[in-house]
């Protein structure tokens, strides 16, 4: 985090005819958060760009080390605040690996987890679509996409009690079963999705102004993407079909039929198309789960770390004791380390956890997909027009809660 690095500050003094240093952000409406990009421009062409991050550093990793294993998921959901469930999913899967219960999670819990994660992927892409349109002056898309997003957040609220950070996933399963009437509300969202998506595509996909602004902007080749550690839709828009859901299936993704949309152009327009197609594939998974949702428990029966159901607490002394112990001192996790990735909306979101056998994590390291995706900005921005900077930032879709943590 810096105002102007020394190397560029010197250039301010030595600037020649047309060269100037322009600091964009951190308070800029089109940087999608608090990002500062120190750009060096000649006329309108960018010759150097240096993203500066850290303005939203909140020490979440340090906080998580000082919370119980269960409590840590509440702060972890705040990292990528546009799709909190993906963060919680990755963290909880990693803890379950350490506990050795990864194969014991009930079928229904796994299905509901995938259902909510895919819903939150759509909700997250809705923000990208709406704000990405606003960056280019297409304001109407914003209203359509945020309306769809609100319906999905209502589902979050209905299931977990909060719109954005429901904290509904638990180590070992779910906080509770889906409330009565959830599936009816889900059907409403499923029914409205296709026509709404058609409207949003009509607004942008073949819009000549939008195409002029995005085609051949911010091109990334497949080799460059791999070298810069790019994952997610940004990588798939460059022609590499790497998706954690297919490469390392988790939580039953191998049971669903879905495709991994890819493009080969690697420009901002290709990323736009890949993300739109990805939303359709997510809805395909949601429809399959809606049809095949099984009944049964949503939590592992092991009372060592699964709090007993609320209704048994009033009836059973042992349940009350278990509940009290789990709330007051949590549970211990066997020592070891594990790396568990999931496919978040922005790419491979991984957690490297270290447990020393205590009831708090020793280390919680996030692999922040947005950070690696954003880092490549200094590579792709060179030689582009300064006006296209907002297009490139928007097409990389960074979330600064995750970049800075």
């Amino acid at each position: 985090m810096s105002v102007v690095p020394d190397s560029l500050a010197m250039d301010v003094v030595e600037h020649t005819n047309n060269r100037m240093v322009l600091s964009m952000g951190p308070q800029h409406p089109s940087t999608h958060g608090v990002l500062q990009v120190i750009t060096e421009i000649e006329g309108e062409v960018i010759t150097k760009a240096e993203p500066e991050i850290g303005y939203l550093h909140t020490g979440i990793e340090k906080s998580a080390e000082n919370l119980f294993w269960t409590q840590a998921s509440t702060v972890i959901e705040r990292m990528d605040y546009l799709s909190p469930l993906s963060n919680a999913m990755a963290y909880i899967l990693a803890v379950e690996q350490l506990l050795g219960v990864a194969n014991d999670i009930p079928e229904r819990a796994q299905q509901v987890r995938v259902l909510l994660c895919e819903l939150s992927r759509i909700a997250s892409h809705c923000v990208w679509l709406g704000t990405g349109g606003i960056d280019l002056g297409a304001i109407s898309t914003f209203f359509y996409s945020f309306d769809l997003r609100e319906r999905i957040l209502d589902l979050n609220e209905f299931a977990g009690g909060a719109r954005m950070h429901p904290n509904y996933l638990r180590i070992g399963g779910l906080n509770g079963d889906l409330p009565t009437g959830f599936l009816d509300k889900l059907d409403v969202v499923i029914d409205m999705y296709a026509p709404r998506m058609r409207e949003m595509r009509n607004l942008l996909q073949k819009n000549p102004i939008f195409q002029d602004r995005t085609i051949d902007v911010g091109i990334l080749s497949a080799e460059e993407s791999l070298a810069w550690g790019i994952t997610g839709p940004t990588l798939r828009a460059s022609g590499v079909a790497y998706d954690v859901r297919k490469a390392f299936p988790y939580s039953g993704y191998e049971n669903y039929e879905f495709d991994i949309p890819t493009r080969t152009e690697g420009d901002a327009y290709a990323r736009f198309l890949v993300r739109l197609d990805e939303m359709d594939e997510s809805m395909r998974i949601i429809r399959q789960i809606r049809k095949s949702l099984v009944g049964g428990p949503v939590m592992v029966p092991d009372t060592k770390f699964a709090a007993p159901p609320k209704e048994t607490i009033a009836l059973s002394m042992e349940a009350l004791i278990h509940h009290f112990k789990i709330v007051s001192e949590s549970f211990r996790v066997p020592p070891g380390d594990v790396y568990q990735p999931v496919e978040g909306p922005r790419g491979e979101l991984g957690y490297y956890l270290v447990s020393n056998g205590d009831n708090r994590p020793w280390r919680v390291r996030t692999r922040p997909a947005s950070m690696y995706n954003l880092q490549v900005l200094k590579k792709i921005a060179v030689g582009e027009l300064i006006a296209d900077m907002v297009v490139m930032i928007g097409s990389l879709d960074p979330v600064f809660g995750e970049v800075d943590r």
């Binding site: 850290g54 791999l226 070298a227 490469a247 070891g336 491979e348």
Partner: protein
């Protein structure tokens, strides 16, 4: 409160990575900083084209104290289709870094995306990467002192960053982390009462003693005796109103 759950074997282990359960998430190798570059060049030549992540861990008591953890991914071929990607392999390198020689060779020349995570580890752990082109702080302000993710760094930050406490909190002199057991609370009450008694007698000892002797009701008007003050139950919330 002592736990009724028996700690698992190896509880509070110094090196948890040596005790890990059989999880098949990556091939794990432990190497020294001197071997790093040669090993990574071999890996890159054998198809590990993506550096997924670099993270740091501080084990505090262990020797070597820190681990720098590298995750590599092998995407075979060009990865143009899902079938071509298949189930790629991961390699995890654990590089032990001693307490007093925190110098690790930078991988920026081999993998350009090592730039930011190495800066982050320098920023938060104080581990230096030799050969890094731009080793500045990345998350914390440039003039920050200390390395926040080290285990001996206080959770609430350095003392200079803490919110100033009100005067009565400073007087209580309760060390951070004191358990809120009954005994400590009683000791705290006793201490505050003693402090008040000292303050009351310090101002006008003769007048205070006299008023207490003549009219007990006058004590509530602000001139309470030391004995009454000591016996009055202490309620920190309404304390300031009562003393007026």
């Amino acid at each position: 409160m002592p736990s009724s759950q028996a700690p698992p074997p190896g509880a509070t282990a110094l090196d948890p990575t040596a005790l890990r359960p059989p999880i098949d998430d990556a091939a794990i190798e432990r190497i020294t900083p001197a071997e790093l570059v040669a090993r990574v060049m071999t890996l890159k030549a054998s198809g590990y084209t993506m550096l997924l992540d670099i993270g740091g861990v501080d084990y505090l008591e262990r020797a070597p104290r820190y681990d720098v953890v590298y995750h590599f991914l092998n995407l075979s071929g060009d990865g143009a289709t899902v079938a071509a990607v298949g189930h790629p392999r991961r390699v995890r390198l654990l590089v032990g870094v001693p307490r007093d020689a925190t110098d690790v060779p930078s991988l920026c020349d081999l993998y350009p995306n090592a730039n930011w995570p190495e800066r982050e580890i320098f920023d938060l752990f104080g581990i230096r990467f030799s050969g890094h082109p731009d080793l500045r702080r990345i998350q914390m302000p440039d003039d920050w002192e200390g390395y926040p993710l080290r285990k001996d760094y206080p959770l609430r930050g350095p003392a200079s960053e803490m919110t100033p406490r009100p005067a009565f909190a400073l007087k209580s002199n309760v060390a951070a982390g004191t358990p809120a057991s009954g005994k400590t609370a009683a000791a705290l009450q006793k201490q505050i009462a003693a402090a008040r008694a000292g303050a009351a007698t310090h101002g006008e000892p003769a007048a205070a003693a006299q008023s207490a002797a003549t009219s007990p009701s006058a004590a509530t008007a602000g001139t309470a005796s030391a004995k009454e003050l000591a016996e009055r139950p202490i309620n920190l919330k309404s304390d300031s109103n009562e003393s007026k």
